[in-house]
Amino acid sequence: MSFTETKSLLKIAKQGKRVFDVLKIRDDFPILHRTVNGKPLVYLDNAATTQKPKAVIDSITNYYTYENANIHRGLHFLSEVATEAFEGARLIVKEFINAMSASEIVFVKGATEAINLIANTMCRSDIFKSGDEIIISQMEHHANIVPWQINFQKKNIKLKVIPITDEGELDLDAYRNLFTERTKLVSIVHTSNSLGTVNPIKEIIEIAHKEGVQVLVDGSQAVPHRKVDVQDLDCDYFVFSGHKLFGPTGIGVLYGKTKYLEKLPPYQGGGDMIRTVSFEKSTFDDIPHKFEAGTPNIEGGIALGVAINYLNEFNFGDITSHEQSLLDYATSELLKINGLRIIGTSPNKASVISFVIDGIHPYDIGTIIDTDGIALRTGHHCTQPIMQRYNLPATARASFAFYNTLEEVDKLIAGLNKVIKMFS
């Protein structure tokens, strides 16, 4: 491959936007042209992870072929180049979510690590005292439940849970009533990975702030589907994973307001996060580096920047409205299937549809439909409390990205009808 300067891939695009043409978009994603079990791949598991455009894949090879060096350390040419590329990616993320400054963007492994970082550092600081409470919801991913439980073992801190309605929406009246003088944090999902519900996140944040409580937003399922502006939301922390945003695995983002990040202690100790080290005492670097001990996932950060820049080629509104038509069409076609029930029927949804079919286990649906090259997710989607809420062992889930087509919805429906025939 020919050499491309990574920094040129990470310039914030100022040119006009691309016309939204789904077939042209599919050409940017090599994997969408492969076959599975002899059939063209129909990839409907985007809430688990998204596919990667060629630009992202190439940027990783390009980086290792021409620009690899450790960052923030060397004075030599390549170290400068790699540092500039990695920090350029941070700037792209900052612009993407409209953070106030690039130092508010901490690179982590993914949303899971971001929440673990906050849970761990808050619990080690004096922010949480024995008897304090945090509020989460019944629709959280396990990544927004278990880190709190693990870190709360040291201090007697309680989790309070916002219940969800039959439609799969948060019960906001119940939410308001959960606040006490001991409430220290609300940690809440923006868009549910198993129900698809888009929560009224701005209102949720306003309510918490009126009570003087900070809010962490898990935006993993939000950023691939709609424009997010952290200053407009006024959230205190915002986390997401790169691989759900057409970037690679092993890279993600923790955004935090400067005033809060500065007060938190470091997460892990090691190189790149210190100012001075002696055997008596070490002092730490400023944010965000204070939270980035060790050599980071350099190519991951760069490739995430490239993924965001790829998305920047489009008007985000075009992406959202294409996905809305996929959601609307798939919903109406699915409901024509006898005995099929959609779990999560809020009018405010991202393009994620969980469903069950009478008499057929989701495992059976997923296994048979896979023979037609259709990738669905089945199971509890790492949201066991939701399954308990609806008294289901599992659901099948179709989740769409902006490269999916209405024809693929038709293939899904045909595949499901075949499944039903096999089990009838």
Binding site: N37, I360, H361, P362, Y363, D364, G366, T367, I368, T371, T378, G379, H380, P393, A394, M422, F423
Partner: protein, 144 residues
């Protein structure tokens, strides 16, 4: 039928089937024909945690042989259980322990249905071996 014959017989059954759709149809058929699982055995102790489907298994030791009964809430898993029971239920602990599940590779199950935590069958296979070990120890104690 020896345990080796039971293994060969299931491999032959699958060799006569065409594509995966036909194989799945056969697996579903086997699942449907699995004897009803006694409700008394549907206990927490007998439950094998799978990531996606639930599996229950009970075992008995009679006249030197181990007998298994099992069930799942997913039909394809039930079919796979039926296969496992054909090749492991009704044999002595020694026979069970000396016969690895090579038939899975031969019929291609391990490629198409990762027998991992997804369907609980990997755990079930482990459990079958553990019961065989336990019953063998019991039999050895009774003989000594």
């Amino acid at each position: 039928m020896t345990i080796q014959e039971a293994h060969s017989s299931i491999v032959e059954d699958f060799e006569n089937l065409g594509d995966w759709e036909e194989k799945y149809k056969y697996i579903i058929e086997l699942g449907r024909s699995l004897p009803a699982f006694p409700e008394d055995y549907r206990t927490a102790k007998n439950k094998i945690e799978g990531c996606q489907s639930q599996v229950w298994m009970n075992s008995k030791f009679e006249k030197g042989k181990v007998f298994f009964e099992a069930d799942s809430d997913a039909m394809i898993v039930k079919g796979l259980i039926a296969i496992l029971l054909k090749v492991y239920s009704g044999f002595t602990p020694d026979e069970i322990l000396s016969t690895p599940p090579e038939f899975m590779k031969k019929i291609g199950i391990d490629n198409h249905l990762s027998l991992t935590r997804k369907n609980g069958l990997g755990a079930m296979l482990k459990q079958i071996k553990m019961y065989a070990v336990a019953f063998k120890a019991l039999a050895d104690r009774q003989h000594s």
